[in-house]
Symmetry: C2
């Protein structure tokens, strides 16, 4: 026997179907006598409203989707902490979270929405010119972004301020006397498709170097320790070799420190390291890394929260660029003579 429906409740309470619906929603006054009977019947039957049917009737699912292309990709390991943050926000407001990975074709985004499964979505890995954004905007579909593109009018988003972040790192190292830097970024694939933060951080690096009139080289790098190890080796072979590295790639920090050690060099005496990554990762290496703390979780939470507020009809504009402070741990120091 299947689960009881509203009709069952109505029959048992001896009232009309609509009365049951209204006692539940409170959208119209119900005499307390009837209300009692209905609630009793609900209790007796162990009735649970069927969210799906409700969604069909109201066109609201109370579920949002997180669009996170690299979540299943082989190439790039995702920053899963984002998901954790998003969940925090959805839980708080009793929303469901549907995880969605990369549409083969960007059109598929639309497809997802049309299905009626979700009320809105949070976009990750936003590209500078993101076709998904075009579609969504054109369809006036509710969405927010973790990240941002070139043109973001009327879109609420949260992102790390990579301009600020990278400049801060470069300035910090330059002030310590370093004149040859390296920037270890993520997979070049992400860069090639124009992912916002990849392009911005690279540009910011070039910019900052020019401003301080120092040298620097960028290395794109797959998200595994081995790749980091190799990248570091080739960097150390350069002449002049960098005396400091800025690393955005959380998965390779182990490979980098290892390559440095294997070379007989030490951190920070010979080489300084500054990360743009989470404190957890920073604390995993020896020595713990000086970083700009990448607030993955907080960003996930904010991105989702913005969406939920939109869905609740609130009208507002938030385009937040976070500027977390530099936390000096033990991987950075003055340039060796």
């Amino acid at each position: 026997m299947s689960a009881p429906t509203m009709a069952d409740v109505a029959k048992r309470a001896g009232v009309a179907l609509s009365t049951v619906s209204h006692t539940l929603s409170g959208k119209r006054p119900i005499s307390s006598e009837v209300k009692q009977r209905v609630l009793q019947a609900i209790e007796d039957l162990g009735y649970q409203p069927h969210a799906l049917a409700r969604a069909l009737a109201t066109k609201q699912t109370r579920t949002i989707a997180l669009l996170y292309p690299s979540l299943t990709s082989e190439m790039t390991e995702p920053h899963l902490e984002f998901v954790s943050g998003v969940l925090r926000a959805t839980n708080l407001k009793k929303y469901g979270l549907l995880l969605w990975t990369t549409p083969e074709e960007d059109q598929e985004v639309l497809y997802l929405l049309r299905q009626g499964l979700v009320d809105g979505l949070v976009l990750m890995e936003v590209r500078l010119e993101d076709p998904r954004v075009q579609m969504l905007r054109q369809q006036r579909y509710p969405f927010t972004m973790i990240g941002h593109g070139v043109e973001n009018e009327d879109i609420n988003f949260v992102d790390l301020d990579f301009e600020y972040t990278v400049h801060t790192c470069v300035d910090y190292l330059a002030d310590l006397g370093h004149r040859h830097l390296a920037f270890i970024s993520l997979s070049s694939q992400l860069f090639d498709i124009g992912t916002g933060y990849m392009v911005r951080s690279e540009q910011a690096f070039r910019h900052a170097l020019a401003q301080r009139e120092i040298e620097g080289v960028t290395r794109f790098c797959e998200t595994n320790a081995q790749a980091g190890y190799e990248a570091t080796q080739t960097l150390l072979n350069l002449d002049p070799a960098p005396t400091a590295m800025i690393v955005l790639n959380a998965w390779v920090s182990g490979g980098i420190t290892r390559a440095i050690h294997d070379r007989g060099l030490s951190i920070p005496a010979d080489i300084s390291l500054v990360g743009i990554l989470s404190p957890q990762v920073a604390e995993m290496t020896v020595p713990p890394l000086t970083t700009i703390d990448f607030p993955y979780k907080a960003m996930g939470e904010m991105g989702a929260e913005l969406l939920l507020r939109q869905l609740e009809g609130e009208v507002f504009s938030v385009q937040e660029l976070l500027k977390p402070p530099l936390t000096v741990r033990h991987s950075s120091g003055p340039c060796p003579p």
Copy 2:
């Protein structure tokens, strides 16, 4: 104007609603002439089937839920790999994935199901006597587990064989001459509620020690580097202090190695470390850790795949206890004299 419905398509193609439905599902023969017209109309209108409505009619959502209690708690990154694996399986079969965190009360599990939002679920952090399992089983609701309880009849699951895993670690270290071991586990809270792998690994540790007639001590530990640092300090203060540690807690490996270094000791000369964690984590520390590779992703994938096969009506029984090999890296060596 809202999205076109099947009725719109039918009208435009000059056929009945059901004809459209059937051309789409292929559940009854359609003359190719009519099929053409229908497909044309669909194309013209840019029609997309409404998954929600379909789900209500068929009682199948093609979505599963992952029940992962601690997903929003502090402990995160390494274990989130499970999610990534689950997604791989669901993507493959074109299922959706709904993420669900801890029900306040275990009854809530049922609530979720009754809503009709998902076809089945994958349970994580299974306790030895798990009330969720009771309910689900009693309701004959489709589910699989990543983990397992005391009694698992007729339930398909995948789990790491902690018995084997811990024994392997202990034997390996004992063979290297170590006589005083430490086992660094996860939060005692998980242990206290009877989470299967927590209890099993602890028991296995005691067991293995007894078998080899050596000493050992267990430390439960929160999932942050600082906690690992402190736990290690107190361990090193013991007399006799352990000469080798087995670590299940992926978040603290950095703290452990740091505490050891700060003490002026070195790995593996003075202290050996063996992890039960993913290669990624193993490669993050200096030196890279000898581990039994915890196949988070593969387990996620298998757990979900089992469920999907069940949902597709396949009848089978799989209760897989994985025994990944020990990978010797550079954190383990003979006991110092």
